[in-house]
Symmetry: C2
Subunit: 318 residues, 2 copies
């Protein structure tokens, strides 16, 4: 039987690059650079709720870090360190090995040190905490949108929710479409470089995890403004564009979560800088509406008519 | 039905005292003081493994933070911030409210800000991450014990394991003894002030969570030394002293975990300073042995004869 200490030695003690002390002690030690604030976020993933028991463990490892990196992206922070706590039903080395490959590959891509964690026996549950640096006062918060701002979104939205809809047989996709959509759901690419590039240019920012309308709604609520989204401008993938008039597709794009794109606002005079930031980081950025005085989120079609909303954002206890 | 957002608003958004931004955004923001390293630790608690389903939720809240505070104590760090992730089978407000009272009461005692977290539905699982400050280079690590050091332990050991033994009917306790032992198991008092006072005086330090011999063994292994424990000097509570010759009691004191005392080493010329540190922080400190060249841990009786060890430290997959 593999012991807890074997597991830790074999899988949870990768080398680190910018850490004073990692693993093997009561706590890890890191240094935050002068003038930098520490940005801290955490997400918990539970089998059967965030991923299926038979899901590819490498994908689960990737996603459990990706959703946390996305929170750093949404703050404009540079992700630096992560901790990982795992409850495992048994010490299944193959599962843990594949999970850690997915986790550590993505960590290496983003130069994030895994500095600590905990392992226990229990129903499969993953808890990741991410820590990053952002210059004091420079974070992209949710509460700083202002009337007159443009509303932007990165990449394309809806593919992840489309994959879920296909799994639930609510929509039929071709094998090629299914592959694209599944990749968005299972291996999201957190927009860390874009988030960094938006610092000093965007005003408010959030990552799209609950759904575009719900997450833009969080900005609107926290900033005390109203957001208007033009549905005809909402960027869809090539695959999804063919389905734009399907109500399932519209719901996926507006209310589906799990895209991990960035939704953000910026004053109109920053348009050139925003487009350049997208260009530089290889992520399309699209103006999808504007911020006004008022409250709430309205979705309009190209002609300014209200689009009926179907389903709100995700609530774990709703 | 209580929504996730209601839960967050009602229970998970306490005021903070030394935090730039807490809750409600993609990440929390904190500032680490110049010259201070950030100490980071995390623990995951699972129902049925670390606590019973019908355990007092206030005690579970207390303990889930206490075990993390104990890690800060063992580094000599000043705990400052915590995040809390919870998987809950349902949105049971009474349970969550009592849990958070226990958690936040202890956080307030230690002036720790709860700065973020995550809530999801799932088998009851608690993941706490603690962050604290310690002057760069000053942390009480496990790898710095040296031959000639005294070996010390704080408070008394074994009561928590005795409570477990009583629950398993391996030992009979009077109601008064049971109350004392249960309090040690359910509401451990992390030795944060003592840990802080030991900075610059102790050399290696660890908190006793796996069991005294196992945890001293971690120091021995990481420091490349041998530790000798004199069983006759191991401090027991008044209640436990009456049972010193019972093999269940000896096993509880030497191999039981969950005491959350500090085991540490220090050079003999620091004895006065160590005793003064204990005095000042109101925690007894007792010399229980010494550090030698070699490897491993040996337990001896008062006459220098080896004491037979029963059971090693705790391994979640052993």
């Amino acid at each position: 039987m593999t012991s807890e200490f074997d597991l830790i030695r074999r899988f949870f003690s990768p080398p680190t690059r910018h850490t004073l002390l990692a693993g093997g002690d009561d706590a890890a030690l890191v240094s935050v650079a002068p003038g930098q604030a520490l940005a801290v976020s955490t997400d918990m993933l539970v089998v059967g709720r965030h991923f299926l028991a038979d899901a590819d463990p490498g994908g689960v490892g990737h996603k459990s870090l990706a959703v946390n990196l996305s929170d750093m992206a949404a703050m404009g922070a540079l992700p630096r360190w992560a901790t990982l706590s795992l409850a495992l039903p048994d010490a299944d080395e193959r599962w843990v090995g594949a999970f850690m490959s997915g986790f550590l590959d993505l960590a290496a891509q983003h130069d994030v040190d895994l500095i600590g964690g905990d392992t226990t026996r229990g129903p499969l549950t993953i808890c990741v905490q991410i820590m990053g640096e952002i210059a004091v006062g420079a974070a992209l918060r949710r509460d700083s949108a202002g009337p007159g701002d443009d509303l932007w979104v990165s990449g394309t939205v809806g593919d992840a929710a489309l994959a879920l809809a296909a799994r639930r047989r609510e929509i039929a996709l071709s094998p090629a479409q299914r592959t694209c959509a599944d990749a968005r759901l299972d291996r999201p690419a957190p927009r860390v470089a874009l988030g960094r590039a938006l610092v000093g240019k965007a005003r408010a920012c959030i990552d799209v995890s609950d759904g575009l309308v719900a997450d833009v709604g969080h900005i609107a609520e926290r900033s005390g403004v109203r957001a208007v989204i033009d549905w005809s401008r909402v960027p869809l993938s090539t695959m999804a564009s063919a389905l734009r008039d399907d109500p399932v597709m519209r719901r996926a794009a507006l209310s589906g979560g799990d895209d991990y794109e960035l939704a953000f606002t910026a004053p109109p005079d920053a348009r050139g800088a925003i487009l350049a930031a997208g260009e530089r980081t290889g992520v399309a950025v699209t103006r999808i509406g504007q911020v006004e005085a008022g409250a709430g989120v309205q979705v309009q079609d190209g002609g300014g008519r209200a689009v009926e909303m179907v389903g709100a954002g995700f609530d774990h206890f709703g």
